[in-house]
């Protein structure tokens, strides 16, 4: 590993004490690990510091883009790996990352994610094309200013890694819907900032459109009941987004 390109692993955390030790272990190939914590109320920080490569910073969470960009700014090396603690970095994937960096042909690399929901891999429902940048050169990349579903913007060539990334974001159904509620509230704020007014078609059409799009056009129907459940929950969260927006304009919670 002598001539290996130096890698900074970067993560943002909030109350991740459970998942953290194993996750940090899976970042064995990084030369330093930056943990940017948004004031966890559990032992996240203590647990993180047990790993010798870790440098912990703290910052109040405002939105995902700002938080992630702030985390990247703490990194010492050019090449960054930025995974979520609910993603499983397999041995094969980490080996591929090391090999890729011996002679990088791109400035950012996508990884294909495999999404697990209620104990089963979701093959359709729009998740068949879920690929995200997880390895990049920080001099050419940053997260855009979206409050939610932040997207990495890369100025240069990108490529896709071969090995897949299992994504175990499901811990419980309540946890899943809580995340969706969090997103829909953030999205409403985003629309409010842009001055978007809630219209009747937002309430009556957009949720159905989301459902039809995910369940029929993106073949969620082939994921069985899980496909239906996912489509329903996202349709409801679209609806909730516009109710939140409607509430924002009326100064009601």
């Amino acid at each position: 590993m002598k001539n290996q390109t130096k890698i900074s692993a970067v993560i943002i955390t909030l109350n991740e004490q459970k998942a953290l030790p194993a996750f940090l272990e899976s970042l064995w190939f990084a030369h330093e690990i930056i943990v940017l914590d948004s004031y966890s109320t559990d032992n996240t920080v203590v647990v993180a510091k047990e790993n010798k490569k870790v440098k912990v910073f703290e910052r109040t969470f405002d939105d995902f883009s700002s938080q992630k960009n702030a985390a990247i700014s703490k990194a010492s090396h050019d090449w960054i790996v930025f995974f979520d603690p609910d993603e499983k970095i397999t041995k094969q994937l980490s080996q591929e990352i090391i090999n890729t960096l011996k002679d990088p042909k791109a400035i950012a690399y996508y990884v294909k994610r495999e999404f697990y929901f209620m104990g089963k891999k979701i093959k359709f429902s729009g998740l068949q094309n879920d690929h995200v940048i997880r390895l990049f050169n920080k001099n050419y990349c940053s997260y855009n200013q979206n409050l939610v579903h932040e997207v990495m913007q890369a100025n240069g060539g990108t490529a896709t890694l071969k090995n897949k990334l299992p994504h175990y974001s499901y811990s419980s159904f309540d946890n899943y819907t809580a995340k969706m509620h969090h997103y829909s509230a953030l999205k409403a704020k985003m629309l409010y900032k842009k001055g978007v007014q809630p219209k009747l078609y937002h309430f009556f059409f957009r949720p159905w459109w989301r459902f039809a799009n995910q369940y029929f056009f993106k073949l969620g129907i082939l994921d069985g009941k899980r496909g239906f459940i996912l489509a329903y929950v996202s349709a409801f969260s679209v609806f909730k987004r516009y109710v939140n927006l409607w509430l924002l304009y009326r100064n009601i919670k």
Partner: protein, 248 residues
């Protein structure tokens, strides 16, 4: 004018510090106020103490048992059951006092319009039996506790204010919690979640709430109530299938 029968108000509480004082003030006209508390961890008790005649502590199992226990201690001939987030208005108070002067029934239902997003939804209101002659009255049912009374039942004209709505998020999470509860009951009965449940039950609930009950007259709040109700039904069946898979 002969002497009206005496009235006891019973309020079950658990961590109601933000609500309890106004509730107590609104029933100050009662002859006796009993708090039945399931060991609140906030300031509920210290706030309530100056206003009440009796505080009973009891570990919560369900609302029926809780209220029945308080009923045993009531000294009034009539009893009004009130929740901490409910308020007796001046006009309802007058009507109660007048009615008790010369009661023609053994129990009276009170109308509860749904308070939501800072306004009352008149399409969603329920008549609930709350004021009863103590003799022979009791609660039954573990989930939806129901007040039973001996004799005929009338309905009061004035409305009870009920501040259920805190914010949209807690309204939805409350439904989500409740869905677990209902799913467990269905599970205990050996029910399974079928496709029919997933497709039709939420739609029916939406239809009932939005069309039949007239939610459409209440604008976006009415639409939201209907949608969240349907979502709650949907969640019930998701959670039922989770129980069958031994998942959370």
């Amino acid at each position: 004018m002969h002497k009206a029968p005496t009235l006891t108000v019973i309020i079950p509480t658990f961590n109601e510090e933000g609500y309890i004082q106004d509730a107590l003030k609104s029933v100050a006209f009662a002859d006796e106020i009993i708090l039945i508390d399931s060991f609140s961890e906030d300031a509920t008790i210290s706030i309530a103490k100056p206003f009440v005649d009796n505080i009973i502590y009891r570990e919560f199992d369900n609302f029926s048992n809780q209220k029945n226990e308080a009923l045993k201690h009531a000294k009034g001939q009539w009893v009004l059951f009130l929740d901490a987030d409910e308020r007796v208005t001046q006009s309802l108070k007058k009507e109660i006092l007048q009615t008790l002067q010369n009661p023609t029934h053994s129990g009276y239902k009170i109308n509860f319009p749904h308070f939501y997003m800072n306004r009352f939804l008149y399409s969603h209101s329920d008549n609930v039996l709350r004021l009863v002659r103590k003799e022979g009255a009791y609660y039954q049912g573990e989930v939806h506790e129901k007040l039973i009374c001996k004799g005929s039942i009338g309905t009061l004209k004035n409305k009870m204010l009920h501040y259920t709505y805190k914010d949209l998020h807690s309204y939805i999470t409350k439904k989500e919690r409740y869905a677990w509860f209902q799913a467990k009951q269905l599970y205990a009965k050996g029910k399974r979640a079928t496709w029919l449940h997933f497709w039709l039950k939420p739609m029916f609930r939406f239809f009932k709430s939005y069309i039949i009950k007239g939610g459409y007259k209440d604008g976006i709040p009415g639409l939201t109530v209907a949608s969240v109700n349907a979502y709650g039904v949907f969640q019930r069946y998701v959670k039922l299938s989770l129980l069958h898979k031994s998942m959370k």
